[in-house]
Every structure is written in structure tokens, then in C-alpha cells.
């Protein structure tokens, strides 16, 4: 590269993560520069969610170092870790709004890291923050839903509320774990466009895991492929075609049959959510 290299905003080096006997990540190296939009690809169980959780300090590496915004996540004290999480917004496949609260209150929970003590009810938040939250709601196009219960909204709307909640954190980094996997194509389009727009306007760094290769190609600046917890692909999307992704990802793609197999592995053919073991999806639903 010709331009001087800026300090990375995210730097993951030789990170390994074990859950009991399962190795979710194997010596993962990943460096993300300020303002990059990175897509994580990989089939179910490849470690996408685990990697993203490390970037928000929700998980500590078994080995290796995770540095986010210049801080080593594993060594932070609780208060500093919370402050760091405050600078990193996170969006989930299942939105994870509190169903019985109003949209506004859900957005306001994004500001909690800046507030001392617990908050219950709208009146517990200062007027300035409420104003800010409403501004964010306007930005995601949901101003008229401000006082509606979160569970009365459609999936796409809920995800947009979740984006507003993340914006409320005033984040430098936005992490998204399969943000559109439970949405219909139309809302999914809307949400992906919104994330891209916001990233561009606010100069956010984005790391987003996706299932769909086609979506990833048209959307991200860079694609990182994971397989069995290993990074097997890391490339910019400039002039990259679908077949090329497949080729690089699968190292050799000699026959069409093999290509199809790799495609399946990448999750391009979405088998639906029943097999998903993502952390957000696992959250104790019965």
C-alpha cells in the first residue's frame, strides 16, 4: 500500500478460544483499520459470533491478544471494560429489545454506560438524552413509533430500533452479528443500507457477520472468511466476483460440484436458523 498505515482500530493476534473441548477460534489474526467495513463469512459454527463477542470484551481469549481502540480487552478492569463496550455498538440477529418497554426506552438503554446507577422508566433519563434518542429514532425513520411497545413492531423496525440503540452509545465501532438473518429480503435490504449509510456518515468502523455471499460482495469493503475457527480468506471486495470468493475461500475450485459444496459451506444456501448456534440466538429461548 502506498499511503502511510494508520494505527489499527481493532487488532486480533493469534487468538484461540476454547469452550471446554470445542475450539471455537484457532490462532485468528485480524487487523481492521479505522473506517473499514468488514464482512465475516462462514458457515454455522465457524466462530463468527465468538469472534465478534471477543471484539466487545464479552469473551476473553484462551490465548492471544485482542486490542480494541488501543486497549487490551483481557486486562481491563470492570469499569474500563464497560467504558470500552460503551464505545462499541452491537447489533444482534434477534434484535434483543426488551419487549414490554417503549421504543424510546429501549433506545435509551444504549446510553447506560455513560450513566451511573440503574434506570427504570423514562423519567429516570435526563431530557437531553431523551432528545438525543428521539433524534436517532428520526434518523432510522421510526420517529412515529417512539412510544410504542417494542414487541408491537415488525422485525425490520425492531432491528432499526436496535441500530438507534447502538447509535445512542456514540460508538466508534459497530459490530453486527447476522443482523438480517431473521428478516425478509425487503427489510433486510433496508437495514443493510442503513448500516452502510450510518457507517459512512459517522465514519464508523463496521464488522458484520453474514450468511449470504452475494449480500457481502455488494456491501462490504473487505471479506474475512472463517472455517472451523480459522481465517481462511481475507481480501478486499474490489472487483471481486462470486466465483472468485468461492475460489479463494475453497483454495481450489476445480469442478462445479466442488464449488457448490463450498458454497454450501459458506452458508450461501441458507439452511435457515434451526441449526444456528450463534450466541445471540442461543440466549435461553425455549
Amino acid at each position: 500500500m502506498s499511503s502511510p498505515k494508520p494505527t489499527p482500530i481493532i487488532s486480533v493476534s493469534r487468538v484461540t478460544k476454547d469452550f471446554g473441548s470445542t475450539r471455537a477460534l484457532r490462532a485468528v489474526d485480524l487487523t481492521v483499520e479505522q473506517g473499514e467495513v468488514v464482512v465475516l463469512l462462514g458457515r454455522s459454527g465457524s466462530g463468527k459470533s465468538t469472534l465478534l463477542r471477543h471484539l466487545d470484551g464479552l469473551e476473553r481469549p484462551s490465548a492471544g491478544v485482542v486490542e480494541v481502540l488501543g486497549e487490551d480487552v483481557a486486562t481491563l478492569r470492570p469499569a474500563a471494560l464497560r467504558a470500552l463496550r460503551g464505545r462499541v455498538g452491537m447489533i444482534f440477529q434477534r434484535f434483543e429489545l426488551v419487549p414490554s418497554l417503549t421504543v424510546l426506552e429501549n433506545v435509551l438503554t444504549g446510553a447506560l454506560s455513560r450513566l451511573r446507577g440503574p434506570r427504570l422508566g423514562l423519567w429516570a433519563y435526563p431530557r437531553s438524552l431523551k432528545l438525543l434518542a428521539i433524534t436517532h429514532l428520526e434518523r432510522v425513520g421510526l420517529l412515529e413509533k417512539t412510544y410504542q411497545r417494542a414487541d408491537q413492531l415488525s422485525g425490520g423496525e425492531q432491528q432499526r430500533v436496535a441500530i438507534a440503540r447502538a447509535l445512542m452509545q456514540d460508538p466508534r465501532i459497530l459490530l453486527a452479528d447476522e443482523p438480517v438473518a431473521s428478516l425478509d429480503p425487503e427489510s433486510s435490504d433496508q437495514v443493510m443500507r442503513l448500516i452502510r449509510e450510518i457507517a459512512a456518515d459517522d465514519g464508523l468502523t463496521v464488522v458484520c457477520s453474514l450468511h449470504q455471499v452475494d449480500l457481502a460482495l455488494g456491501w462490504g469493503d473487505r471479506i474475512v472468511g472463517l472455517r472451523h475457527g480459522e481465517v481462511v480468506l481475507d481480501t478486499t471486495t474490489d472487483g471481486l466476483g462470486r466465483a472468485e470468493v468461492m475460489e479463494i475461500y475453497g483454495r481450489v475450485a476445480a469442478s462445479t460440484a466442488e464449488l457448490t459444496a463450498i458454497e454450501t459451506e459458506l452458508g450461501a444456501i441458507d439452511v435457515g436458523d434451526g441449526v444456528s448456534v450463534g450466541t445471540a440466538a442461543r440466549g435461553g429461548r425455549r
Binding site: G86, E96, P118, T135, E138, Y147, R149, A280, G283
Partner: protein
């Protein structure tokens, strides 16, 4: 392949093999023996408690004498009555609220998904188990030393501590059942543990918590009459005082008993109404309240209209003003009503912290440890426990027999016609509505008998519970086998015995054991009124500071017994699945 093999053998051998009875597993045999043993013990208890017809006749004479001598049923003067009702409600409200407040941290550390540490979780569960094991009336007796005479604080504290067991358990269960996602989202946004709880967990569990508190309020109100025997003011105490004067007080005592009964029913209706209206949960109670509510056909109101587009039109500043939707008005008025009720409870219960003798508080708490037998022996306590257990079993057996009769006739698929079913369903509802402790006190007073009256009272309550379960479990059975038998020309009673009965049996055994379990706890408390069994020793030991070690011993013994019954019940459920 199998076909080939069967044809190669003579067909008769095959039929014979299939006819041979499968071996009955030993666990099954043990289970059946245990059931028979417990039935036998129940019948034995009935006889050993002198539950003879001559005794019944004697007590009937007694009752007749009482009724002929006593004044007509009367009520206290309206202002007095209002005061007594207010005092009782105030104590029960405050006690329940205190328990609910303490239960919040207890459930927080007890729930697997919120507990900060494993040992705290064990501690939380232990607090729940211990507080549930000590009857509130025992607590009230024990606390009375630390408070001025006539203070309502011992009652509030007693209810408050005893109720923690059930409330914190149900609170923690609710926490464990929530969706953890929102909690994770708050954590990911940099929220602290406390913020996670109040922003993501609490809003999710609130409806179920409110339902739990209301439910416990009903239970506490039904049990409050007995607190009068520990000197806690209110309707129970007034009833005790009235019944202490024979014959002139009996009319009034009966009147007060009726008031308690009506109060229980009215408040059950109100609490079911709140539960269904506010929470959008259907009335689930099997008591009078739920019934009346369902009969009235009230549906939860429609959700508030979403705020209209005017907000969008007016922009961000205007959006700060929250529109007064119906949902908002409703929620706010419920919240303020709840606050008003608690404040009113505080006022009605006459709480006066000046009545605490602080120098007694610490010695009172210390006095419960270590457990000991005082001047009594293990043998005496064991004998007393046996009597209490006998009361529990005897009433359970009576309930079982009556429930099979009443419950069967209340089941749609057994009752000969709908009129019979309705009649017996109504009988069951009425039985359930009667607070059995009030009934027991009344019977003990009127018949002059202790254990026998207790058995009858518990049996009544048991029929309400068990009879309904019998009826429901029969109605839930798939109708196939009965149809098959009636197609084969079987009579109604043949169908009942051959098809309905055997299949309803497993759940009946489980429910009967559950009844024994609750009866042991209730019989302990009744012994305090009737002066028999464990209750007798509990009464004596609770009121003297230096004897409190015996209270601990007795409570442990009762609790151990309950645990054994629960263990047997769990085992039976596995055997008869």
C-alpha cells in the same frame, strides 16, 4: 423377515407367548406397596385419632348444645368491624409487600442467569427453603416478645419472612425463564450488572412478579385468621377473643368467621381481575374469584392505540411529549393505585416503630440457636410429630374418598348428565373458597375436639383441591377406550371402572401426596389452635425466649418430614409415569 419367521413356527405358540404377562418391574411393586401402606396408615390414623361414630355423635351433640346456647350470629359495630378489616388487610398487605421487596435481592442471587456467584445462589435458595419451613404463626409468637403488646409489627414481620420462601422461589423461576438476549444487549452496550437487571430483566419479569405477589396476598389473607392466636390484632384475634367466651361470644365469633370468609372471596375476585385485566393473563385461579370472573366473560381490554402520526409531523421536540394513550393512562393509574394501597395498608395497620423493644431484638434472634429439646425428649417430640402426621394422613384419606366421589361426578365424561356435573363442580368451588384454617378454628371451638375437628377441616379443603384435580384429570383423558367399551355394550359404571379409573390413577397418587405435604404444614399450625401434636409444643416454646431452641428443633423435624413426603412423591411420579 419377521413374517417368514412367524410362519415357520406354529401359530399357537406365538399367541401363547404374547399372552404371557410381562414381568412387573420391582419398582412398580414397591410403589404399589407404598401406596397401599400409606392408605392403610391413613385409615389407621383415622381410628387412632378416635375418629369413631360415637365421637362424631358426641361432637354433634356438643355442637347442637353450642348452637342452642349461643347468641344469634352478630357482627361487631360497623366502625369496629371496619377497623378490624382494615387492620387485617393492612397487616397482610404490608407483610406481603415486605416479603416481595426482600425477595427481589434473594431471587436475584438465586436465579442461575443473574447470580453473581455460585455460593450466593446456594445461600439464596437456602433462605427460601428456611423461611418457608417456619410457619408464620410461630414467627409471630416468637417475635411478640420484642414488640409492645397489640403491635401489628410481629404479624407483618411474620408474614413478611414466611412468604419470602414462596415469593423468592417464584420470582427466581420467572427470572430464569426470561429471554437473556436483552440482558446481553445491555451488557454489550457497557451496562453494569445493576443496569442489566433493572433495564432488561425487571421489565420482563414484572407481570409474572405482580401475579405472584397477588397470589401470595390471597394465601396470606386466608391464613391470617390463625395469626390472631399469636396475639396479632385484627379479625383473627377478635374471633379468638369471641370464641373464648362461651356461650355469649360464639354468635359474634361465627359472624367474624363469616366476614373473613367473605373478605377472602372478595379479594380473590379482585386479585383475579387485576391479574387478567392488567397483565392480559387469563384468570387462572380455580377458586371462586377466577370462576366468577370467567363466568362474567371479561376480556382483557384492547391495547392502547398506537400514537398517531402527529408526532412525526411535529418533529423531535414535540416527540418529547409522550401522548396520553389508553395504555399509558391505565398503567399509571394502576401504579398509583398500588402505591395508595400500600400507603393505606401502612396507615391501617397502625405501624408504630416506637413499639419495638430494641434490646430484645438481638436476643430474640439468637435464642433460636442451637436447637435443643429443653426439658422434653426426642421421644415426646416424635410422638407429637406422629400425631400431626396422622392428622395429615387421616384428612388426606378422607379427602381422597370424598374427592373420588365428588370429583368423578364433576367430570364431564363420568357424570350422568350436565346438571349433576354442574352441581358437583359448584360444590368443589365452594369447598375451595372456604379458608380451611377459619373452618378449623370454628370446628374446634364448636365441637370442643382438637384433632378430629382439624381432620374434618383439612379434609374439606382437600376435597376442594383434590376433587377438582380428579375431575380435571378425568376430563383430560382421551375418550378412546371408553368409546370402545361402550361400543362393546359396557354399562356406564363398567366403563368407569375399567377404563376411566386406571388411567386417572397415576396423577391421583401424585396429587394425594401433594395434599399430604400441605396437610402436614397445615396440621402443625392447627395444632397451635387445638393444642395438639407439634403445635402444642410449638405454642409453649414460642412464647418463652429461653425455649426457642425447641422451636428450631420442632421446625426441623416437621421440615424433615415434609422433605421425606416430597421425596416419596418424586419417586412415585417416576414409578407410575
Amino acid at each position: 423377515m419377521t413374517a417368514a419367521r412367524t410362519t415357520s413356527r406354529p401359530p399357537e405358540a406365538d399367541t401363547a407367548a404374547s399372552l404371557r404377562r410381562p414381568r412387573i418391574p420391582t419398582s412398580r411393586i414397591a410403589g404399589c406397596s407404598a401406596v397401599l401402606f400409606m392408605l392403610a396408615f391413613g385409615v389407621y390414623s383415622l381410628t387412632t385419632l378416635d375418629f369413631s361414630w360415637s365421637n362424631v355423635a358426641a361432637s354433634t351433640q356438643n355442637a347442637v348444645k353450642v348452637f342452642s346456647l349461643m347468641d344469634p350470629v352478630s357482627l361487631p359495630a360497623p366502625p369496629d368491624l371496619a377497623y378490624l378489616i382494615g387492620l387485617t388487610l393492612g397487616i397482610v398487605i404490608l407483610g406481603t409487600v415486605v416479603a416481595a421487596l426482600i425477595s427481589i435481592p434473594v431471587s436475584y442471587v438465586s436465579a442461575a442467569n443473574t447470580t453473581p456467584a455460585g455460593w450466593l445462589r446456594v445461600l439464596g435458595r437456602a433462605i427460601g427453603v428456611i423461611t418457608r419451613a417456619v410457619p408464620d404463626v410461630v414467627l409471630a409468637l416468637a417475635f411478640s416478645l420484642a414488640f409492645a403488646l397489640g403491635s401489628s409489627l410481629p404479624g407483618i414481620l411474620a408474614i413478611g419472612i414466611h412468604s419470602i420462601g414462596m415469593i423468592s422461589k417464584l420470582f427466581a423461576d420467572a427470572i430464569e425463564q426470561i429471554d437473556h438476549g436483552p440482558q446481553l444487549a445491555v451488557r454489550a452496550a457497557g451496562g453494569s450488572k445493576a443496569q442489566e437487571f433493572w433495564s432488561a430483566v425487571f421489565p420482563q419479569v414484572l407481570p409474572s412478579w405482580i401475579a405472584t405477589v397477588l397470589h401470595r396476598f390471597d394465601i396470606n389473607l386466608r391464613g391470617s385468621a390463625i395469626l390472631g392466636y399469636a396475639g396479632v390484632g385484627g379479625l383473627g384475634y377478635a374471633m379468638k377473643v369471641a370464641f373464648a367466651q362461651f356461650p355469649e361470644g360464639y354468635g359474634r365469633g361465627l359472624g367474624i368467621a363469616a366476614v373473613i370468609f367473605v373478605l377472602c372471596v372478595v379479594l380473590e375476585i379482585i386479585s383475579s381481575m387485576i391479574r387478567s385485566n392488567l397483565l392480559g393473563v387469563d384468570a387462572v385461579g380455580n377458586g371462586l374469584g377466577g370462576r366468577i370472573l370467567r363466568a362474567a366473560g371479561k376480556r382483557p381490554p384492547v391495547r392502547g392505540q398506537p400514537p398517531g402520526g402527529h408526532v412525526a409531523a411535529l418533529g423531535v421536540e414535540a416527540a418529547l411529549r409522550r401522548p396520553w394513550t389508553r395504555a399509558r393512562v391505565r398503567n399509571l393509574s394502576w401504579a398509583w393505585t398500588a402505591v395508595a394501597i400500600v400507603v393505606a395498608g401502612y396507615w391501617m395497620a397502625d405501624v408504630d416503630f416506637g413499639q419495638i423493644s430494641w434490646n430484645y431484638v438481638v436476643p430474640t434472634l439468637q435464642s433460636f440457636w442451637p436447637p435443643n429439646f429443653g426439658s422434653h425428649s426426642l421421644d415426646e417430640f416424635a410422638q407429637a410429630l406422629l400425631v400431626t402426621v396422622e392428622v395429615a394422613f387421616a384428612s388426606a384419606v378422607l379427602s381422597l374418598v370424598l374427592s373420588l366421589l365428588v370429583g368423578s361426578l364433576a367430570a364431564r365424561n363420568v357424570a350422568p348428565n350436565n346438571a349433576v356435573r354442574t352441581t358437583f363442580r359448584t360444590i368443589l368451588v365452594i369447598f375451595r373458597g372456604v379458608p380451611e384454617l377459619v373452618l378449623a378454628i370454628f370446628l374446634i371451638m364448636v365441637t370442643g375436639l382438637g384433632n378430629q375437628a382439624g381432620v374434618v377441616a383439612l379434609a374439606f379443603g382437600g376435597v376442594g383441591l383434590l376433587g377438582k384435580l380428579v375431575a380435571d384429570s378425568f376430563e383430560e383423558l382421551p375418550p378412546g377406550p371408553e368409546r370402545a367399551l361402550s361400543a362393546a355394550g359396557a354399562t356406564r359404571s363398567q366403563r368407569y371402572l375399567a377404563a376411566t379409573w386406571p388411567r386417572g390413577l397415576p396423577s391421583l397418587i401424585g396429587n394425594s401426596l401433594y395434599l399430604v405435604d400441605t396437610n402436614i404444614r397445615a396440621a402443625t399450625v392447627l395444632g397451635i389452635v387445638g393444642g395438639s401434636g407439634v403445635g402444642f409444643y410449638l405454642t409453649n416454646a414460642s412464647t418463652v425466649l429461653t425455649l426457642h431452641g425447641q422451636v428450631t428443633t420442632l421446625v426441623i423435624m416437621v421440615f424433615g418430614t415434609v422433605l421425606v413426603v416430597e421425596g416419596i412423591a418424586a419417586w412415585m411420579r417416576r414409578v407410575f409415569r
